[in-house]
Homo-oligomer: 317 residues x 2
């Protein structure tokens, strides 16, 4: 590997001039910049990350923090798609993506502390939201640059989110208008996650606009037989996510109930498509989410951003 020294020599300038030229320092003449870059290209020069980190005090690395997995937050392919989108942006910037992914909160915190204090990583993407989270508390305390993907947890936090409220509204409207549903039932996980509440708010808004009444089924509390006896008018399903829909179908197996009702569901995982291809999906576009999160992370003027979604008809792909 050729170093900046080799480049400087070949371009007949000093090392510092070469460094400045390569970094587009305005104090260097256009001619010199061109020459240095040209030579660098010929020599196939690649700047050393560790050396840069050592002298600047900040690594060209973005840390991605995954939630600790448990029965309520299973390992999720959605997250992989997010980081795929994020890394695409990072590769272009010559950045590296490091992951903090652990089994328990204590090790996760240690992992992140090590990243900050030993690896000089000062930019993070946080893939979850959680009240009283020691990890984000640490990031705030140490004034690290981070963006949360999901609902913001604290007032000052920067975040990027799907427009879940709008998605809930559009999905409900789709069911009512395109599918002719009269009484859609909202299936909730019962975990009261933020995105769930947002989608629910959209659902309620759409129904209110059409003069319908909201009705929801709580997977933790409701009992299918009793519920459907009490609400025979239900003729469509809207589920807050793929997992909830499959749980719901599973509960339904114990009662006689027409499983063929039109259904719409957030997220668009492959397993779901295979298990229930007839369902309409709302694609939350995880890759785009990841890519935009990186842009937001490096644009410190902006505090937050909402990203789009796409309703995917049942037979599509």
């Amino acid at each position: 590997m050729s170093t900046i020294k080799d480049v400087a020599k070949a371009a007949q300038v000093s090392v510092s001039t070469a460094s400045r030229a390569l970094n587009d320092n305005p104090r260097i003449s256009a001619a010199t910049i061109a020459k240095v870059k040209q030579v660098a290209a010929v020599l196939d020069y690649r700047p050393s990350g560790p050396a840069k980190t050592l002298s600047k005090g900040e690594a060209s690395v973005v840390g991605v923090i995954f939630p600790v997995t448990d029965e309520h937050a299973p390992a999720n392919p959605f997250q992989l798609d997010i980081i795929r989108g994020a890394n695409t942006e990072l590769v272009a910037k010559n950045y590296v993506l490091a992951t903090a992914i652990c089994q328990d909160e204590a090790s996760l915190l240690k992992n992140v502390q090590a990243m900050v204090e030993q690896s000089q990583i000062h930019n993070f993407l946080v893939l979850y939201t959680k009240a009283d989270d020691p990890v984000t508390a640490y990031l705030r305390e140490k004034a690290q640059n981070f963006v949360i993907i999901g609902h913001p947890s604290q007032p000052g936090d920067r975040y990027l989110n799907n427009d879940n409220q709008l998605a809930g509204q559009k999905a409900t409207r789709h069911l009512l208008i395109e599918e002719g549903v009269r009484q859609p039932l909202l299936v909730c996980s019962g975990h009261h996650w933020a995105y769930e509440a947002d989608r629910q708010a959209g659902y309620q808004a759409a129904l209110a606009a059409q003069g319908g009444t909201a009705l929801s089924y709580d997977l933790q509390k409701d009992e299918p037989a009793a519920f459907f006896a009490a609400h025979p008018s239900v003729d469509g399903i809207i589920a807050v996510d793929d997992i909830s829909l499959l749980s719901f179908y599973n509960q339904l197996q114990t009662v006689t109930w027409p499983k063929q009702l039109p259904a719409i569901c957030f997220n668009r995982s492959r397993l779901l498509s295979l298990a229930s291809p007839a369902v309409i999906k709302v694609d939350m576009m995880p890759r785009q989410l990841g890519a935009k999160a990186i842009n937001l992370l490096f644009d410190k003027h902006r505090t937050h951003q909402l990203v789009g979604f796409r309703i995917v008809s049942a037979n599509e792909k």
Copy 2:
């Protein structure tokens, strides 16, 4: 952050002695080592990763290379569990996990090249196997240390794998003996992946031992109605993975066929558990896979290792 200089000063030794003491250099007296380490602990000293990398020429980082996703290889929660297991080991070693995850092969190769040449990352975990893969070809050419998780692709490669052949055998036996199945049907993806072939070999071996006959259904080629007309004796299902099982159930919806046959399936994803809780699963223990892969990666004497699995009854968890 305190540096090695601070430690040296506080311990009243030179920087070089401090460095050696912290690295358990045998040329340093036990007393000095103890004193230096003691002081380091008090000062909460953490060695700087970038500085170490710069002087040693090798980063304390393991790169994990994900397969490029397409319709045949969807983003998979199994992979997330693997890296969770791997990172648990890495955090203990004060290593960082970096991920190469891209949309296409060309960028993936660039990503990995950048890791090697710019970030001095020389240890990798490869999460896939593929013939004529430019990425692993590059790793071999540059003599990087890497371990493949899955079936080895080239003779010299080091790898770590589930014992898929044994798992296929045990799963088939389980179906025959515990569930009293006479004619189990093997459901294959039709993609001819290595792990699939291994599981199939185990299936055949188990049947041969019991005097049964092998029968398989190819999701790409077979047509359900015709197939089942020709093979009415099928009374149990063994699927090569979770996705294949759900695909199979989906194809089955078009024909009248008792879906309630006993079934066993490799992998144990949450969506599957929700979609088909009655299925028996073979847990391939991805976290353990990840953890052992790290151990193998750093134990250069060993070339490969097979890891276990666990048959999980339908109602369990």
